[in-house]
Structures are given as structure tokens and as C-alpha cells.
Amino acid sequence: MSSKVPIRLSVNGRVRELDVEPRLLLVHLLRDQLGLTGTHVGCDTSNCGACTVHLDGEAVKSCTVLAVQADGTKVTTIEGLAHGDELHPLQEAFWEDHALQCGYCTPGMIMAAADLLARNPDPSEEEIRHGLEGNLCRCTGYHNIVKAVQDAAEVMHGSAVADRQEVSV
């Protein structure tokens, strides 16, 4: 067996030190070893975006990142997005706008939307659709998802939370 590699990373603000197999994917580290099952796996082809988390504040598909590549980084998952009991404006808006049915795509969708709003705090509908093209929803349809992102953008605009530092730990 290939030898394990020591890594040190921050996950949702908590420092973790582990020895991992090189082939362990970040998504499996999060789900199976750290119990953060909010991050989902929806495909084998890096297409669906259900596994989206933030690596140093930017959205990545954690099924296509090795855990060893995340050494020294700050990882934020959907579990780390809220401030205590206070939901993130995107979480609030997805709830209010019925932007989910089964919820499978939702954590990835929200993490991708947070990256989008950090790059572009006031996106047009077109820009939201384009910005979320790495995330597939198989049941809600995109209409309410787009609406939720627009509403969250408005709220975040108001309180100027659109700073990527805010969402990344």
C-alpha cells in the first residue's frame, strides 16, 4: 500500500491534523472521516457540483481534489456557512423561495452561489445562470434557485456581507 501522508488543514474554522492515503478524495475526507455529510456526491465525472465546498474561499468540486492537495488550506463546507444559529442569507433565501425539493443539490448549489456573489455581488439573472452552470439540479428546476440567489444578493448587499472572507471561515 502507498504510504500515508500527514496533512494539516482548517475545516469550518477547526484545525485538523490527519494521516491520509494519497488517493483519498477531499469529499470522502469530509464525509467519511470528519462526518460532514452535508457535502454530497452526485456523479463520477466532475459535472454535477453536489460536492462543492470552498477551498481558501473559492468554490471547488471536492470529488476532484485530493485530500493531500488541501494540505495547508482553509476548507468551508455547508455546515460552516451559518453564523451559529443565524443562517447565511443564501440558506435563508433558498428556504424562503422554495429553491429546493429533495435537497440533494442544495449544499453544492449554495456553496457555488456564495463564490458567485463574492466575485459579483450584484449579478443579473443571466450572470447567475451562467455562474451556476457547474451545478445540476434534477428536480427543482432552476427558476427558484436563481430567484433565491437574487434575493440573497439583495440582503447581502444591504449588510455588505459579500466579502469572500465572510463566507470562508
Binding site: P22, R23, D44, S46, E58, V60, T64, V65, E133
Partner: protein
């Protein structure tokens, strides 16, 4: 899906990485963003015994002006490129690669070293007549874009060599466009076209370059179209006529999404659109 087992190192210097690649021999591979290599490994189409991660090698993620052009470090990500409008067509094409998550990981060096004719940046480098610098244990050499892409997933970069920088001319005064046709959002190009046009003072075409994504086993130049336009008028009619010759001499592989004929049709249409945009007509 899980990859086969492999060993992993992340050396802190370029020499360390070259050393590790040499030690690993044929079964060792460099790892940049991993967004071409890891999907292949997950499907077990590739099973390197050793991955040499370049992430700790200093100085490979940069965009600098040099001799009237640009020097871009190999680990510069598509997301870094898309944010730099001053890079012109490179930024335009980078913004059209896959989706934001992929662009946050994938690198220009990986895109060029992988040699996939469906990737967008190889055709752009070819049209720009850029070059790459590669370092091996024997030394440093420069490879022109026209010599880099040899065949499907095959480049002139030798095993054990590392691509360190990409050089592109700034092409001040040229108009540019990258047109990409996909069936679904986030897809690879069915066909992509990079067009660069320089107008002479009298409005005619002083120079022109057109290159294709996914029209063969490597990125290709549309030489017949270029010859038809160079030195002549740059109006909608002459562009339309030149674009009709765009697919000449190409043998695009048919795939799930398109027959060879349909790709040739797309090449003509997209060439016209890209030229019109680049020429500002």
C-alpha cells in the same frame, strides 16, 4: 469513484520536482490542478504510480509583462486568467472553460501539457503564436506553439520535463474573439474558433490568424481562410467568403455530439462569427 493507489510527493522546489519525476520514471506524473488527470484516474484510464504535485514549487503562479508580451506561470489558474481583461483573448477563452469550480482549480500549464484538442487554451496559444518554456534535468528549452501539439493527448514535452511558463505576445492593435459552441452549459467545445485580426491604416486586412479547438487530433490553424483574407478587404462579404473555406483539409473525429460534417459546418459558421467580432464589422 476511487483511483488506483499511488504515492504522492509535493516538493518545495522545481529541482526537487524534477528529481522526483526522474526517480519515478515512466510511472510518475506531474500534478497541477488535477482537473484532467484526476477524472482519468478515477475512471482508471490512468494509473500513475507516483504523483509529483507542483503546488509547493514557488514562482509558478504569476502573470507578468515581458518584452512587450506576457509571461504566465504554469500554475496560473483559469480563474486568474478570466479576471485579467488585459490578457485579451486568453481571458475571454479562459472564462468559457467548464464552470467556475473547474476554473478555480485548472491551470494553463496543465491545459497545454495535457494536449487535449477539445481544450480551449491550446488553440488560443496556437493562434497567438505563443510558446512554452519547459525545464528538464538536462536544462531549459522553449517550444513554439506550432511544435507543441503532436497528436491526441501527446505533446512535445518529454517525460520528466516540467512546463514552467507560457509566453504570449501582447498583439497590440489586433482585434480578437473566441467562439465556442457547446450543446449544454459547462460542456467541452464541440468546435471552438480563435480569431485574431489586424487592420491596416486603409482598413484592409494587414494580418489574420484563425485556430480551431476540436477539429482534429490537435488544435489547427485555418490556413485557407487566413490566406483568403490577408491583404484583402475586411468587410462582411469577404469575411463570409473566407469563412466558407474554414474547414478545408480538416478531418474532425465524429463523436457523441456531432458528425464530422456537422463539425465542419460549425467551423465555418463560428469562423465567420469570430472574424466579424475580431474585425469589428
Amino acid at each position: 469513484m476511487i483511483t488506483a493507489e499511488f504515492d504522492y510527493v509535493a516538493p518545495g522546489s522545481l529541482d526537487g520536482a524534477l528529481h522526483a519525476l526522474a526517480d519515478g520514471g515512466e510511472d510518475a506524473k506531474a500534478l497541477a490542478g488535477g482537473h484532467s488527470l484526476l477524472p482519468l484516474m478515477k475512471l482508471r484510464f490512468a494509473a500513475p504510480a507516483l504523483l509529483v504535485d507542483l503546488r509547493n514549487v514557488p514562482g509558478l503562479r504569476s502573470i507578468e509583462q515581458e518584452n512587450g508580451g506576457w509571461r504566465i506561470g504554469a500554475l496560473t489558474r483559469h480563474a486568474d486568467l478570466q479576471a485579467r481583461e488585459d490578457l485579451g483573448v486568453v481571458a475571454q477563452a479562459a472564462a468559457l472553460i467548464a464552470d467556475q469550480q473547474v476554473r478555480n482549480r485548472g491551470t494553463i500549464g496543465g491545459s497545454l501539457a495535457h494536449g487535449d484538442p477539445a481544450s480551449d487554451l491550446p488553440a488560443v496559444l496556437l493562434a497567438l503564436e505563443g510558446a512554452v518554456t519547459v525545464r528538464g534535468r538536462a536544462g531549459t528549452r522553449e517550444i513554439a506553439a506550432s511544435d507543441l501539439f503532436e497528436d491526441y493527448l501527446t505533446t512535445a514535452i518529454a517525460a520528466g520535463e516540467i512546463l514552467t511558463d507560457v509566453r504570449i505576445p501582447a498583439l497590440a492593435g489586433w482585434g480578437h474573439a473566441y467562439e465556442k459552441f457547446t450543446r449544454r452549459a459547462e460542456d467541452w467545445a464541440m468546435v471552438g474558433v480563435c480569431a485574431l485580426v489586424r487592420r491596416a491604416d486603409d482598413g484592409t486586412c494587414a494580418d489574420v490568424r484563425v485556430a480551431f479547438t476540436n477539429m482534429g487530433s490537435t488544435p489547427l490553424r485555418a490556413t485557407a481562410t487566413e490566406q483568403a483574407l490577408r491583404g484583402g478587404p475586411l468587410d462582411a462579404e469577404s469575411i463570409g467568403r473566407a469563412a466558407e473555406q474554414a474547414a478545408e483539409g480538416t478531418e474532425p473525429p465524429a463523436d457523441l455530439n456531432a458528425t464530422a460534417d456537422y463539425k465542419r459546418h460549425l467551423a465555418r459558421v463560428l469562423t465567420r462569427r469570430a472574424l466579424q467580432q475580431a474585425a469589428g464589422t
